[in-house]
């Protein structure tokens, strides 16, 4: 049970910067997910917290203590690795108890804690097996069991689900969430999968190029992304970005996407966007779920337009439609019964209450 604090943490490999100064405060019992594309520095950050990598500059605190020079074994952390890193020559019981045995904990105490962890993870019958005799999901549970048994201050997860098949991954995701609800230990979890990040986290940390782009609750990141990167990274299919012009119009502003398509800016945003009239290049950002088929009763701030469809992708519960706006491919999500047909024009509406305006040069969401 402890806070984890990162202050201006920097990591360089020779001359290549991997992490370029990040500040992060993780509360006690919080579940924080670091997410980002490969090479964004998320795993390096986790390994620095674990003590498996040195810190080039900055401070890392676990509890109230600066642990920069504390070796991993004295940091009181537990880590679950991507390929589990179970000791192949030891049984599940031996794997799980290894840390306690090294600490020379009393035998009865070890047995009690291993059995308790095994019960939480539902692996009590596997204790005498060797890792080779286990399935991927079972190994994953054992790896988590090894972490739980130690009752550490902090759990660290390094892409623990990426070696599992899609179905098992969803199942284990729920499992991890349940375990955290039972064990309530401060957790730092690294993944490149934004769905995993959204579903597991109390707070998500989106990283890119060795820097933190944004920290927030899953809903915050989804609805109020701070940068174009976050807007594009969170959500699937990804947000559409369409080059646009901001123009003054009768009583307000409008965004012009093409000669044919222009949307009025919702009244409550006019003040915010006014300053950017005539500024540099702007992008109109809107998620596919906010481009839907026209319905009989329009909501406020929904604005209709008509486009010829390029491709339609029926998904069952919805149909993805792709069309071009001034050469930019745009994706929308319509009702499967709305009659979307490739090559035919279709009447869609844009839900402008959920639009974003992005400064292309800085990448900031305005």
């Amino acid at each position: 049970m402890a806070k984890v604090i990162l202050r201006k943490v920097v990591k360089n490999y020779d001359d290549t910067p991997a992490v370029r100064g990040i500040d992060l405060e993780i509360a006690d019992e919080e579940f924080v997910v670091l997410v980002g594309p490969s090479g964004c520095g998320k795993s390096t950050t986790l390994r620095m917290i674990a003590g498996l990598e040195d810190i080039t500059a900055g401070d890392i605190l676990i509890g109230e203590e600066v642990v920069n020079d504390v070796p991993p074994k004295d940091r009181d952390i537990a880590m679950v690795f991507q390929n589990y890193a179970l000791y192949p020559h030891m049984t599940v019981y031996e794997n799980m108890s290894f840390g306690l045995r090294l600490k020379k904990a009393p035998k009865a105490e070890i047995a009690r804690r291993v059995e308790n962890a095994a019960r939480i993870l539902d692996i009590s019958e596997l204790l005498e097996r060797k890792p080779k005799q286990l399935s991927g999901g079972q190994r994953q549970r054992v790896a988590m069991g090894r972490a739980i048994v130690r009752d550490p201050k902090v759990f660290l997860f390094d892409e623990p689900l990426s070696n599992l098949d899609a179905k098992l991954r969803v199942q284990m995701r729920t499992e991890i969430k349940k375990v955290h609800q039972k064990v309530r230990t401060t957790t730092v979890y690294v993944t490149h999968d934004q769905v995993e990040a959204m579903t597991l986290a109390d707070r998500v940390v989106v990283m890119n190029g060795g820097l933190i782009e944004q920290v927030g609750t899953p809903n915050d990141l989804y609805h109020f992304p701070a940068t174009r990167f976050v807007a594009g990274f969170i959500g699937s299919p990804a947000m559409n970005f369409i080059p646009c012009k901001l123009e003054a119009a009768a009583g307000g502003l409008r965004v012009k996407l093409s000669e044919a398509i222009a949307f009025p800016v919702p009244a409550n945003r006019v003040e915010r966007y006014k300053a950017h009239l005539g500024a540099g290049k702007l992008l109109f950002g809107i998620r596919p779920e906010h481009l839907i088929e026209q319905r009989p009763h329009a909501e406020p701030d929904q604005h209709p337009f008509e486009v010829p469809l390029e491709v339609t992708e029926p998904m069952g519960m919805e149909t993805l439609v792709h069309f071009l706006v001034e050469g930019t491919e745009v994706c929308g999500r319509v009702n499967p019964n709305a009659g979307a047909l490739a090559g035919k024009p279709m009447k869609l509406v844009a839900d402008l209450a959920n639009m974003h305006l992005i400064d292309e040069a800085s990448g900031r969401v305005l």
Partner: protein, 276 residues
């Protein structure tokens, strides 16, 4: 398909083996069948039992040191930065690559009682020169030393390969679990390398037990037969002593002893193979 292979094995392995069995049952002149007479004669000779003991001591001591040194050096090379590693690996393999008959000649000069580098150093340091190959203890030490020098690089390269195949994450997991370097070695490295250690030790035991060239060149079995191993003594009795049947009987004794080593070690390997 397998016929040429079978022919080669019959010609090069089976025939000599059976022929030496046959030889061992003949008298010195090779014209009369004597049954087990050659063996009972050997059992009554003190030299024979000395050779048995010397062969075992020679092989076991040499293999233990080859394995230990190979293990340590492999760790050293493993921790050398990748850039310099090839150079080290290449240099450390040299003793194994030079034909032992040649490199042993160089050792022969080093051990020379009057002109050798070793004794020169000893005298410089104020010590008495040592009759390296003339005193029983030192001569036994010398043949083992040269055998270790020749054979350790093989262990080094095998253990280096084994070390490289241990996943780094196991060490990281162990570091987080609280293991110090000694515990990582004991609980991770050695168990992960056990099979390769067992196999290299077995093969090296067999080869070392049957060693000929080093002992032959360095001491030729002397002083007074005290450094003989099976192969050199069989050569001395059979070829130099013109008693081929007796030489064949001596060399046949290697087989049961090696078979016992092999059974123990291979059984251990298959047992653990089945567990995993």
């Amino acid at each position: 398909m397998a016929l040429p292979l079978i022919l080669i094995i019959v010609l090069l392995v089976l025939y000599p083996a059976l022929y030496s069995l046959h030889l061992a049952t003949l008298n010195k002149g090779m014209e009369r069948f004597v049954g087990f007479d050659n063996f009972t004669f050997l059992f009554s000779r003190e030299t024979f039992w000395m050779v048995v003991k010397q062969s075992v001591v020679f092989a076991v001591t040499a293999v233990v040191f080859k394995a230990l040194i190979g293990f340590c050096v492999a760790h050293f090379v493993h921790n050398v930065p990748v850039k310099g590693q090839r150079k080290w690996r290449g240099m450390l393999l040299v003793p194994w690559v030079i034909p032992p008959a040649m490199s042993t000649l160089a050792w022969l000069w080093l051990f020379d009682p009057s002109y050798s580098a070793f004794n020169w150093l000893l005298v410089k340091g104020g010590f008495e020169p040592i009759g390296w190959l003339g005193e029983v203890g030192w001569a036994r030490f010398a043949v083992i030393l040269v055998n270790v020098w020749v054979g350790a690089p093989f262990f080094m390269i095998m253990y280096l390969a084994a070390l490289k195949s241990v996943p780094e994450q196991l060490y990281e997991a162990a570091a987080i679990d609280g293991a110090n370097w000694w515990q990582k070695l004991w609980y991770i490295t050695i168990p992960m390398m056990r099979n390769i250690i067992a196999i290299t030790v077995l093969f090296s035991l067999i080869v070392t037990f049957a060693n000929f060239d080093i002992v032959r060149v360095l001491t030729a079995g002397g002083p007074l037969d005290n450094t003989h191993v099976f192969a050199t003594w069989a050569f001395k009795v059979g070829i130099e002593g013109s008693d081929l049947p007796l030489g064949a009987s001596v060399s046949l004794f290697m087989f049961p002893i090696l078979a016992i080593f092999a059974i123990f070690i291979l059984r251990d390997i298959t047992k653990r193979g089945a567990e995993n």
